[in-house]
Symmetry: C2
Subunit: 342 residues, 2 copies
């Protein structure tokens, strides 16, 4: 027989700073799924407390928090930190980038995670997959968007610096407004439009009552990945088994979030339709103009940030092949099923 | 300070019977990713040896093996066991069923896993997610398939009993042939067509040289889930932390397989195209006839198996909502990207 192993291990207590409020239960929930799994796998010897955005530090202060070791972990969207370096955006989503599955393929079996972690090295950060929302919606508008010209002068709440730059090229005036204040601003008309996530999250904020035109697709977030950031020194200090436990918990919670969004979005969409939201497709002219504006911003980033340039080139090369494949079996299967009576 | 916990645990040695050969490295590889993670997370105290199809028992004997406790785990495709009860197929894929993400949504946040595990109770099995291939291809054909009439009398190698019944309604003659013998049968003409998986797996077997017409989509496998089956008593015997470790390892390996397929399929597809494979879309008439034949078989199963009837109804209800949502943001995003020059 094999002798039982005797194993002594000090308790570990870590803190995770989320960028999200608890009310975004799907996206915030990742951190809880993750930390519960770590606790269960270690019989309670490794506990990670989860703190909502603003509780320990501002929602957009979490990269500094992990970098300086104020907290061991953060759960956030990399493109929030576009201002530090455009390359952050490539860890989550860029306009006309990957869908969720393609992002996973690049991150897990392409160069994605490797290149992002090299980049994050300068911030003392190692990243793990932190969930994905799937393709988002294109936001709520007080008026119809019939042509690219309708973006001109439009005051729009946007989720990150990259889409802000693209929207500026289209003539819009990006606004940075906390989630809790968007509804009132749309109602008063100090804001003309706002993008948030998708039906499940958007419904809770009631935007359809004040800006009923709900456009798709959210071409700036075709499959945004959320990241789990861990302070490199803290991660290095873990035993090999705890490292593996963190990795597996992150991997499981990552898939769980997308499945949860996919399960919850349809009911919310139906309820929004019943509540008179006008769910409309961006016209080809609007998408084409948005695509062109995005490509201009990408070229500017190539000139500004060598880290962006290197990772972006790898991402687009990988994406070309992904699209080739997805438009064959996957795309035709989905398109056939989209019109069947089942 | 917190006192260090002292922890004694006997070593656990389990055996996993895979239904797959090692040459299918992507699908077989799930079991290795899973078992390596379990070993790493337990510091080597919980080891699962992985055995290729046929090594311990026939590839299709693994349900009996887990049921009887000959092995603790199996990694297999539930639809292989359609002959035991049609309901098995619902744990993997039915024609015109979910795509991979929709299957995850149903399994993880709909009733899918719960209903399947209730059903598996009669076999002393509890199931965990065992990977997904994504939408498969529709197989290799010696001649073009121009209309549903071309299926008549066609001897075709098929992967499971359900698609066999559907193909019989279309007039085809399903053949059960081991993977290693398909090439020769196609070359000799004793077989007219064969379906396998997708570009990455198919390319290795060289079918394009003897049956060059490669159709899509594989409407009988829009997003087949592979299952990890565990003997219920063996699972119940685990400590709470080892249960959580098994669950997280399965969850991580599950997402890893799909990402690996998505990363590998594009290059294989390009190489197959370069090697003169004729990659063609099934015509709408062929898909419509296949859809109709499938619905007939589903109705027959409703009459034959109460377990099928209950789970199938839940699955289709969930799928209706999934399709409603997927044809909005996700579908339009993918379709726009499919024709962009990036």
């Amino acid at each position: 027989g094999v002798a039982p192993a005797v194993h002594a291990q000090a308790a570990i207590r870590w803190r995770l700073a989320s960028s999200f409020p608890k009310s975004l239960d799907t996206i915030y929930g990742y951190a809880e799924v993750f930390s519960k799994a770590v606790k269960a796998m270690t019989g309670g010897k490794f506990e990670i407390s989860v703190h909502a955005g603003g509780e320990l530090m501002p929602p957009f202060g979490v990269v500094d928090g992990v970098q300086q070791g104020t907290v061991e972990l953060a759960h956030t969207v990399p493109y929030y930190f576009y201002g530090k370096n455009p390359a952050f955006a490539l860890g989550s989503a860029v306009p006309f980038g990957f869908n969720a599955r393609q992002m996973n393929a690049w991150m897990m079996h392409g160069n994605g995670r490797k290149l992002m972690n090299e980049f994050y090295g300068a911030y003392n950060i190692i990243s793990f997959p932190g969930g994905n929302t799937g393709a988002q919606m294109g936001g709520w508008y007080r008026k119809e968007i019939k042509s690219p010209a309708d973006f001109k002068g439009m005051k729009m709440r946007l989720g990150g610096g990259l889409i802000g730059e693209v929207m500026q090229k289209l003539g819009a005036v990006p606004q940075s407004i906390p989630g809790g204040e968007i509804y009132q601003a749309l109602e008063k008309g100090t804001l003309d439009a706002a993008e948030w996530v998708g039906p499940y999250d958007d419904q809770k904020l009631g935007f359809h009552k004040v800006a009923p035109y709900y456009y798709y697709p959210g071409w700036w977030e075709g499959g945004p990945e959320i990241s789990l950031y861990i302070n490199q020194k803290a991660f290095d200090s873990l035993s090999a088994d705890n490292k593996a436990i963190v990795e597996a918990a992150a991997g499981m919670a990552h898939g769980d979030m997308l499945a949860k969004y996919d399960a919850l979005n349809p009911t919310a969409l139906k309820q929004l339709l019943a509540a008179q939201a006008k769910v409309l497709r961006f016209s080809p002219a609007v998408l084409d103009a948005s695509f062109k504006a995005s490509m201009e911003v990408f070229a500017e980033n190539d000139a500004k940030s060598p880290e962006w340039k290197k990772i972006y080139a790898d991402m687009r090369t990988f994406q070309r092949d992904q699209i080739l494949w997805f438009r064959v079996a996957e795309g035709h299967y989905d398109n056939f099923m989209a019109v069947q009576k089942i």
